[in-house]
């Protein structure tokens, strides 16, 4: 117990996995007990095995996989919005971080949106863009880009000035200082910002697919709820969580591959 309250005593990988799996199993056991005991009605909390059955039903019945189709559509929308978020958000964030005057001008326009009710913008987007794919992608884009821009700006501003000075003293133009020294040094944190943006998009996917989705994970959950198929609602939510986690893990892995020097610092 001596090492319990010690933030630097990281347990080894096996112990960490054991603790993580243990926690998940504990939750499953409590959930199962609640379901078996009849304390909570199945209409409010479906049993774990019912959720599993719902999952297998969604995954395969009548010769088709509703779940796979829905997942692919959701991933497609998320990927399209993600490309836009990166292509537009990263340059704006870099420009704001690199030019304090731009930052002073743009941050009052960008920063408040982090706490704005982006969901409330949905009707406005519907009014502007209709109820098709554009609206859904625009919604995901908006929700994520307002997080990405300030994070990218902060990443640029966090680069020690010595790298900027070092390049300038070698005869770099101001733009070269940014492009050749500051941005490469900010890349790991920019990658972190992108990872956050994708997590945010996963949390918004159900909202994005709320209006007039014919297919997608959000629509699948929405549909199940209409028929009070709570086991399917739970299965859908768990699939989204799993996908979000997988995206996160993959991106963190990719980031470590791309910027191995960050941890050697």
């Amino acid at each position: 117990m001596a090492e319990f309250w010690n933030p630097y005593a990281t347990p080894d990988a096996r112990a960490r996995r054991l603790l993580g799996v243990g926690a998940v199993v504990t939750v499953l056991v409590i959930w199962s007990l609640l379901a078996v005991s009849g304390l909570v009605s199945p209409n409010k909390l479906p049993a774990p095995w019912d959720v599993l059955l719902a999952f297998s039903y969604l995954a395969w019945h009548d010769g088709e996989s509703m779940l796979l189709t829905a997942t692919l559509w959701s991933i497609g929308r998320l990927a399209a919005a993600g490309v836009l978020v990166m292509a537009i958000g990263i340059p704006i964030g870099i420009a704001m971080g690199a030019a304090p005057k731009l930052n002073a001008a743009l941050s009052p326009l960008v920063d408040p949106f982090r706490s704005a009710p982006v969901v409330a913008l949905l009707p406005i987007l519907v009014m502007w863009l209709g109820i098709g794919e554009e609206m859904k992608i625009a919604f995901l884009f908006l929700g994520a880009v307002v997080y990405l821009i300030p994070l990218v700006r902060d990443a640029i501003q966090a680069v020690p000035q010595s790298y900027w000075i070092g390049a300038r003293d070698l005869g770099a133009t101001p733009w070269e200082c940014i492009q050749k020294s500051v941005v490469p040094m900010a890349m790991p944190r920019i990658a972190d910002a992108v990872i956050v943006a994708f997590s945010v998009m996963w949390t918004y996917i159900t909202v994005a697919e709320y209006v007039n989705a014919r297919v997608g994970l959000g629509q699948l959950i929405q549909n199940a709820r209409r028929f009070s198929a709570w086991d399917q609602v739970f299965a859908g939510i768990i699939v989204i969580i799993a996908l979000a986690l997988t995206t996160y893990q993959l991106m963190v892995h990719l980031k470590r591959k791309l910027y191995p020097w960050e941890t050697q610092q």
Binding site: I165, D169, L170, G171, T173, S181, M187, Q264
Partner: protein, 290 residues
């Protein structure tokens, strides 16, 4: 650096190329004082550097050494005009603002952790200024030669995090030397190294300077370093800085321990300490790293 040298087959032109003169004329530097008004940091400094050699610049902490060095490099600190008055002439031409005759090396080597040793040394050639002047085959050769000269040829694939402090400072030095500058400005470059590594680096600098003489202005607060390296020693007074002493050392380098203990060297050492202490205790004790 001179375009002529690369276009014509240079006949042992190294010395001609290295010849550069710097004249500082009545340099005054003032900074805005915190409570309003101005503080005079440099007060009428006149200096001339006329031939390749190692010029040591000493002075009490905070007296304005780095300020003068930055002026020579044409680098402006933020929020102030430099110099407040006076002129800097490089080869007779007034220098105002950045120029590419000089390269700086600092105590805090800003080596890039994401680049290999080779790419760190080759970094200047990612910039338009140098890419336009030096062809890729040539700069690749130069980087390889410079790495060999500083003793890092076998480390060129490693990253800075895999090197020691002294090796990192070699990388920084190589990045400056690869440009074959006519003026090399060094601001306490070995100040953060342990005594043994510092001596190694001093020997390395002497070797490199013999092989490729240029005009070095070297700021230090280490009197021994000044005596071991300097062709000339300039001592500044405490803030506001004036030239308090300026003398030449003719003893050839490398300078033996016996010479360092000789009467000549000891007298020089006393002379420097006298000037440094004359500035009085408690003044100019603020350290600023720009």
């Amino acid at each position: 650096m001179s375009g002529a040298a690369s276009s014509t087959p240079a006949p042992a032109a190294a010395t001609a190329k290295a010849g550069v003169t710097i004249v500082l004329k009545d340099i005054v530097q003032e900074y805005p004082a915190p409570g309003g008004g101005t503080t005079r940091v440099v007060d009428g400094v006149n200096l001339a550097f006329e031939r390749p050699g190692i010029n040591m610049l000493l002075g009490p902490s905070g007296c304005g050494k780095s300020t003068i060095l930055h002026m020579l490099g044409g680098v402006r600190p933020m929020g102030a005009k430099t110099p407040t008055s006076g002129k800097i002439l490089i080869d007779g031409a007034e220098c105002d603002g950045a120029h590419d005759d000089s390269v700086m090396v600092f105590q805090r080597y800003a080596n890039r952790p994401d680049l290999s040793v080779f790419d760190n040394v080759a970094f200047p050639f990612r910039l338009k200024l140098w890419r336009q002047r030096i062809a890729e085959t040539e700069w690749r050769q130069r980087v390889a030669d410079t790495l060999k000269a500083v003793g890092l040829a076998d480390k060129q694939r490693l990253r800075p995090a895999q090197l020691s402090g002294g090796q990192n400072q070699r990388v920084a030095l190589a990045r400056a030397l690869v440009l074959r500058p006519r003026i090399l400005l060094m601001d306490e470059p070995f100040g953060a190294l342990d005594a043994q590594t510092r001596e190694e680096m001093q020997r390395l600098l002497i070797d490199l300077h013999n092989a490729q003489p240029c005009l070095v202005v070297f700021v230090t607060h280490d009197v021994t370093e000044a005596l071991v390296l300097g062709d000339r020693v300039i001592v500044l007074s405490a803030q506001p800085a004036r030239v308090a002493d300026d003398f030449v050392i003719t003893e050839p380098r490398p300078r033996s321990g016996a010479w360092q203990r000789s009467g000549e060297a000891v007298r020089m050492e006393e002379r420097i300490f006298e000037q440094l202490h004359a500035s009085g205790p408690g003044r100019g004790s603020v350290r600023v790293t720009v």
